[in-house]
């Protein structure tokens, strides 16, 4: 049998005792300057949430009058350098880089070691990560190692000028309430933000960023966890749901799992993606990765059609970034009509196939005219 776990290690940095509730930052933490965004690089590609966070990080850095940096940890196959150039195009002044062949696939230990070492050496005041499966795994481990504050799933970031600290606002209790959280006496102030919560910044022409390179100082033999395989999803479309320009969503108003095909058909005609509200996942009508809302995917499409969805608060939180929302519901008092752009009081089971047909004709007509 295995040995007992070892006792928790003492925090690497930070005061032995938390300071009181004074406004003053402890002296040794005043050296922490700058806003960092962790650039999530996997299999040669950067997750778009990283660029969204650079856009948001740029605003925070400008407010504070400090630099914005991207942090890139990955293999030495050229992908890190390419990601660095992209980071500059999305607003980074400089990049901190760790390149090592053993960083080809994400593993908690080497990434935690690398990111923690960078923070300790270069002392950022703010560190943002995407709230992806990778980002949350890493952020939790790094924040615990550094013994600092971490706020999950923020929907709004601002600087509280009085304290010069990050004010992170996040939904709680499934979106029924928002709370603003601050880390006053610890650095860095860490936060994760979900994909599509922040808007994508414009790409601009940028000179090559300044690059600060550090070694990983870890050998493969020291890493217990091994990656045996990566199995890509058969249904690659679920990955695109958050980033689709057109999304059709279904709710309990569809009446049955079979009727969900009406949602898929409309999405297909519009070249978009489909998903559903939380109750549909709970009933097993759709898989969990098709759930739209605060506890599922946050979407920001140009058009969101919500069919038979009442619009519970947690659904609203995940969809209100859409440019246009068309709601179809038989109940004129459904909360969805309080935040949709357009509403149709009608039965989704009748309207969905009619819209599918009408859109098909309209788009065919447009294609002929073009």
């Amino acid at each position: 049998m295995s040995s007992a776990p070892t006792p928790p290690r003492a925090p690497a940095k930070g005061p032995g005792k938390p300071a009181g509730r004074s406004r003053e930052l402890p002296e040794h933490l005043k050296a922490y300057k700058g806003v960092w965004v962790f650039i999530e690089l996997e299999r040669g590609r950067v997750h778009p949430v990283s660029w969204e966070l650079l856009g948001e990080g740029r605003k925070l850095a400008d407010t504070l009058g400090v630099e914005l940096a991207g942090v890139i940890i990955g293999p030495n196959d050229g992908s890190v350098g390419a990601a660095g150039a992209d980071a500059a195009a999305y607003g980074a002044d400089l990049v901190y880089v760790i390149e090592d062949p053993i960083l080809a696939a994400y593993r908690t230990d080497p990434f935690t070691r690398g990111l923690t070492a960078l923070v300790e050496a270069h002392k950022p005041e703010i560190l943002l990560l995407g709230a992806t499966t990778l980002g949350r795994d890493l952020a939790g481990a790094v924040a615990t190692t550094l013994a600092t504050g971490l706020t999950a799933d923020c929907t709004e970031l601002a600087i509280d000028m009085e304290t010069r600290t990050l004010a992170s606002t996040r939904p709680t209790f499934g979106g029924s309430l928002l709370c603003t959280i601050q880390t006053l006496h610890f650095r860095p102030q860490m936060a994760t933000i979900r994909p599509r919560v922040m808007s994508m910044p414009d790409r601009r022409d940028a000179a090559a960023p300044r690059v600060v390179t550090e070694p990983l100082s870890m050998e493969e033999e020291q890493i217990v966890t091994k990656v045996l395989d990566f199995i890509p999803d058969r249904d690659q479309d679920t990955a695109h749901l958050a980033y689709a320009d057109v999304v059709v969503g279904g709710g309990l108003g569809l009446g049955s799992a079979e009727n969900f095909r009406l949602v898929r058909e409309l999405a297909h005609v519009l070249g978009g993606e489909y998903g559903g509200s939380r109750p549909l996942v709970q009933k097993g009508w759709i898989p969990a990765d098709r759930q739209i809302g605060q506890t599922g995917r946050t979407i920001r499409p140009k058009l969101y059609i919500a069919a038979g969805i009442s619009g519970a608060i947690q659904h609203r939180v995940g969809t209100e970034g859409a440019d246009v929302i068309l709601a179809i519901n038989t109940d004129a008092n459904a909360p969805i009509f309080d935040f949709a752009t357009h509403g149709v009081v009608a039965d989704a089971l009748e309207m969905l196939p009619a819209l599918t047909e009408a859109f098909r004709r309209r788009l065919e007509g447009a294609a002929r005219a073009a």
């Binding site: 949350r136 209790f173 709370c179 395989d229 140009k302 058009l303």
Partner: protein, 279 residues
């Protein structure tokens, strides 16, 4: 095998109401449940015990009333339940919570070495997914989050192979015990608890540990004092906008109404019309 499952008692979020004036959660009358994500962790631990023998301990940090969640877990088949409750735990953020729970797990491990610590992927009230990784760091456990499936478990070799959800696919990871696993929803389904199980659980003894009893020496790292994050403001979300513009379709058949709906939609937003035409 000794599996420890971390659970949390949470208000049933489907029945949460917010006080319109004070903006506080109205907990009165809201039933509490075991955090639904934790049930996948508990079921997986029970399956490990079914396959390899050993014990399943459940542990929670919370007020005395959290005992109800532990009894529920015992009814499902857990062997032992520990409630960590102390006034100084109140107000713990995720860093302080992982500090407290890791001490409870160490205390359990002192009696029987722990092979796997299980947790749900996140809670439905806090939704942070941070406590699991926090415990893994503090106890030096190999960290496996968002696990869909335990592919292979070899207690003799102290080896485990799991499927971990990643963006766009699944990583197959091999690591050594002891480890910490957070289970993804839908990875299994909880067994039923019989009436007998429930009666047995109702009479079972629950171990209660205060901070001192759990061996926590540095009390400044618990509760509000040990939490780097501070909640500065709680408020109700502002709706996105005013009411939806209703598209009048009363009296029309769906096939007559649909073109009108599309017209209204596209007339209001030219960019959308261009986008759809281009797509």
């Amino acid at each position: 095998m000794h599996c420890v499952v971390c659970i949390k008692q949470v208000p049933d979020s489907a029945q949460i109401r917010v006080h319109p004036v004070t903006n506080t959660i109205m907990r009165q009358g809201v039933p509490t449940i075991i955090n639904p994500y934790d049930l996948y962790a508990l079921e997986e631990a029970l399956r490990v015990r079914d396959a390899f023998g050993g014990t399943v301990s459940v542990i929670t940090m919370g007020p005395p009333m959290a005992e109800a969640a532990l009894r529920k877990a015992l009814a499902f088949g857990a062997d032992r339940a520990v409630l960590m409750t102390d006034r100084i735990f109140a107000g713990s953020d995720t860093l302080a919570t992982s500090y407290v729970l890791s001490h409870g797990i160490m205390r359990l491990a002192a009696e029987t070495p722990v092979d796997i610590v299980f947790a749900g992927k996140q809670t439905i009230d806090g939704d942070t997914a941070q406590v699991g990784p926090g415990i893994a760091r503090r106890l030096n456990l190999n960290q496996l989050t968002y696990v869909e499936k335990i592919e292979r478990l070899d207690p003799e070799a102290d080896e485990i192979v799991v499927h971990r959800r990643a963006e766009g696919g699944v990583h197959v990871l091999k690591t050594e015990l002891p480890c910490l696993i957070t289970m993804l929803e839908g990875s299994n389904s909880m067994r039923f608890a019989s009436m007998d199980d429930m009666f047995r659980a109702a009479r079972a003894e629950i171990t209660v540990w205060s901070a001192a009893e759990a061996g926590i020496e540095d009390q400044t790292r618990c509760g509000l004092r040990g939490s780097p994050t501070v909640v500065r403001k709680v408020f109700a979300p502002k709706p996105r906008q005013e009411k939806a513009k209703l598209i009048e379709v009363a009296g029309l058949s769906a096939s007559d109404a649909a073109p009108q709906v599309i017209d209204a939609l596209l007339a209001a937003d030219r960019k959308l019309a261009d986008h759809l035409a281009a797509g």
